[in-house]
């Protein structure tokens, strides 16, 4: 059986999640490998969410937030940008493939882009193969 990646998407309520909605209502096709969790702001994302997701078997984690400057709470994503950059470095230094973690800024009107990013990221994870490093063996 071919490998179907399991991807956790964490999307900000105001932009990326709405963008995902738009992608849905405009009937854009994108892979079903992503499971989206909605948070109020990308700065609400605790880095432990990401580590935990990998431990619980996610093959990739995609984080979506408003474009810098467009945050519903003015500055949330600016903090998130710094924090998630560190998360990425930590994952990388621990030995995790850097390609498994990605942060994208997708606005509410960018349904197309959401679909495109998911498509692209899914392909990328598919190429990387199953994530085994963090995953807790059952």
């Amino acid at each position: 059986m071919s490998f179907e990646p399991k991807i956790l998407g964490i999307a900000c309520n105001w932009c990326t999640y709405t963008g995902a909605d738009l992608a849905g209502t405009t009937r854009l096709q994108y892979p079903q490998n992503i499971r989206v969790v909605r948070v109020m702001c990308s700065s609400r994302i605790n880095p432990s969410f990401i580590f935990r997701a990998f431990q619980l078997g996610a093959d990739g984690v995609l984080i979506g937030g408003c474009h810098p400057g467009d945050c519903h709470y003015n500055t949330g994503n600016l903090y998130a940008r710094r924090r998630l950059a560190v998360t990425k470095k930590i994952l990388e230094f621990s030995g995790m493939e850097p390609g498994r973690f990605r942060v994208e800024w997708i606005s509410a009107s960018e349904g197309n882009r959401f679909a495109e990013v998911v498509r692209e990221f899914t392909e990328q994870i598919r190429d990387l193969g199953p994530q085994t490093k963090f995953k807790i063996s059952q």
């Binding site: 810098p68 230094f93 030995g95």
Partner: protein
């Protein structure tokens, strides 16, 4: 010029005595004699007569900034700090855990400190490349100059050169040995959360038993919590009973933070910790 530990000890005693006698501070955080001369321990002098018990030698590596958060605010404290320790004090001031006004910082310019467990000189590993405290009210002795100034990140080279599989294997092996005594977080001056995320039971982030998944979760999150805050004193690695080189990961994160945000932890009390700060023009490149 060789460092004279006796001289520093003498200075320390004199200043501590002055401060305690004048009532400027009610306690002095310094070093006292442990069970033998090679094992000094942190010591709290509260009375002028306690000052005689203060010692200072090459084994006084403990970072006393760790104890600052234990005392209530507005406790007037004098604290003896070496270079890295002074950065911890600065960082704590930045984070508003202690007040600058409550502190009298006794700076100790020193090199050649040794790990009391192994006898190894720790300068190159964990002093952040500094020999002189970055913040002090009273300097005990003269500033150190002429020592080889090495980048604190030099020791990382070998690890950065590893490919990701090797690195993964390395950290799996090292973190796998962790017995979860939590000495690293307890020795760390910047770890003051109560309760620590790993002790929470809802949500439960990691298991209590010392097995790989829980260990990985605990350490990675701790590295993350200390990103941009770790002041590179190396206490976590020295405290570790099974010698896990935690300082390497902390250094790596510190290096990345410095590269990305252009600011090292605990260098100036006017700074804001990098992760509770942002610049509108931070580049999106850092996410790539």
């Amino acid at each position: 010029m060789a460092i004279s530990f006796e001289q520093i000890e003498q200075h320390l005693k004199t200043e501590a005595l002055k401060l305690l006698e004048s009532g400027k501070v009610i306690l002095v955080l310094a070093y006292g004699r442990g069970y033998d001369a090679n094992h000094p321990m942190p010591y709290v002098a509260k009375h002028p007569s306690d000052v005689d018990n203060i010692v200072f030698n090459e084994y006084c590596t403990a970072n006393l900034a760790r104890y600052l958060t234990r005392y209530p605010r507005r406790t007037k404290i004098a604290i003896a700090v070496k270079a890295a320790d002074s950065r911890a004090v600065v960082q704590l001031i930045q984070e508003d855990k202690v007040c600058r006004e409550d502190l009298v910082v006794l700076g100790i310019p020193v090199y050649g400190m040794k790990n009391f467990k192994t006898g190894e000189v720790i300068d190159s590993k964990t002093t952040g490349g500094l020999y002189n405290p970055v913040l002090y009210d009273i300097l005990l002795g003269e500033e150190v100059h002429g020592q080889p100034v090495s980048s604190p990140y030099d020791v990382l080279a070998a690890y950065e050169a590893m490919d990701k599989e090797e690195r993964w294997a390395f950290w799996q092996r090292e973190l796998g040995r962790c017995i979860r005594c939590y000495a690293c977080r307890k020795a760390c001056p910047m770890c003051y959360c109560d309760p620590c995320f790993i002790d929470q039971n809802k949500p439960k982030w990691g298991e209590k038993s010392p097995e790989s998944p829980g260990n990985l979760m605990y350490h990675l999150t701790r590295f993350h919590h200390l990103a941009g805050r770790c002041i590179d004193c190396g206490e976590c690695s020295r405290a570790c009973p099974v010698d896990i080189p935690l300082y390497l990961f902390h250094k790596k994160v510190a290096k990345d933070c410095e590269e990305m945000f252009g600011q090292a932890a605990g260098m100036s009390i006017g700074d804001k910790p990098v992760l509770v700060n942002f610049r509108v023009d931070d580049s999106d490149k850092i996410l790539e």
